[in-house]
């Protein structure tokens, strides 16, 4: 979310502290989404001070049938850095979507956007990531790849 572990940790700590304070005031967080919403805004506030990614700067290509094999070659940190470099709200959309822990309704609530916008963010994120994959992790064995088995 921030591209900086220290900033993320600080945002997380502040969210937990805020939750504890609210509980002490007899106003506990209403639901689990509150934690993610609060942490997200803290991350956004923290990352505003750094270099900002600009939307629409990356090339986009259609998803390749062999993309999973390209992804397998990546290190997890590479993906983390790529996602953290995406502009908001695409960064949060990709992070929430690929965590695979939230329903669509919850993600829309957290991001405070409409479904078509969310779908566009994810779809363009896929295409941009594929473009980045092609540039960094080319796959030369594609001729033998059977898309139906993917």
């Amino acid at each position: 979310m921030t591209g900086d572990a220290a900033k993320a940790q600080e945002a997380f700590q502040n969210t937990v502290r805020e939750a504890a304070l609210r509980s002490a005031r007899d106003e506990p967080p209403p639901d689990r989404l509150w934690f993610f919403r609060d942490a997200r805004w803290r991350c956004l506030a923290a990352s505003e001070q750094g270099i900002q990614a600009e939307p629409g700067m990356l090339e986009e290509v259609e998803i390749a049938p062999f993309a999973p094999r390209q992804i397998e070659q990546l290190e997890p940190q590479q993906l983390a850095v790529w996602i953290s470099a995406a502009p908001e709200p695409q960064r949060t959309a990709l992070a929430l979507f690929y965590l695979d822990e939230f329903s669509l309704r919850e993600m829309l609530s957290l991001l405070e956007i409409k479904a078509p916008e969310f779908a566009d963010l994810i779809a363009s994120g896929r295409r941009q990531f594929q473009s980045w994959l092609d540039a960094t992790t080319p796959y030369y064995d594609g001729e033998d790849f059977d898309a139906q088995q993917a």
Binding site: Q9, S23, D26, I63
Partner: protein, 254 residues
Amino acid sequence: MPNKPETLLHCAPITEKTGIDRAMRVAIQRARHGKKATAFANQQAFDMAVAKLVHAIPVDAQVAEWFANEKLIPVVRQRWKKILLNPAVLAILLALVVIGGVFAYRVREHLRDFPGADKARRLLTVATSTRSVLLDPLKTDAGALSDLFFMKYRLEHYDVPAEFADFKTLGTRVFDDEEVHRVAQIWVVEKRIQFFLFPAEPDKEGKINDFSDWRFVELEGWTGAVTQRNGVCFMAAMRGSEDGLKPYLEKKKQ
């Protein structure tokens, strides 16, 4: 939630979960068996590979430790007082109380019911609307009217019970009611009490079971004390509660 299948497919869940919207399920099923099956399969494989990699991203040890501690954030349960003061909860509770009250009243009324109770209630409505001018003026003892009813109207056993036989009458009439049939109505001086004599109601087996005790019916602020002898019901009706009638009913016992 979006309705367009394309929009839905772009954010199709990576793993099958329970509680997915019906529109989403339909869109996924159509995509899997339609023209875009290959493209959708590629997208799903791509998403699964990315999700797998996301879960492999190392989490800071301190943060991981915090998440492992379930009591990290004290969960303060909403106090009962706060829950009860919630307008929605209050409205539900009030509705339940009203429903419970009506149900209890109905059950109580049903438990006290007897064959002829419906007829008695119907005559209570007659009592509420009766004016003295409707009755033929007649000043005598209520107990003396049995002969009049038999001689003039051929009404057998239309007898006023001993408890009320000494009451002075103001007027009387005999009329036909659609449901109750032949009814004798007597208006007495004492607290403007009205007496009704009417045919008894047979039970479910078609038998008429007399009862010598007094049973009560209530309607719109009026109370009737009913007893049944020789297949004829007698009801003393007055405005007020059972307590107003009980002293007259206990006279006989004394």
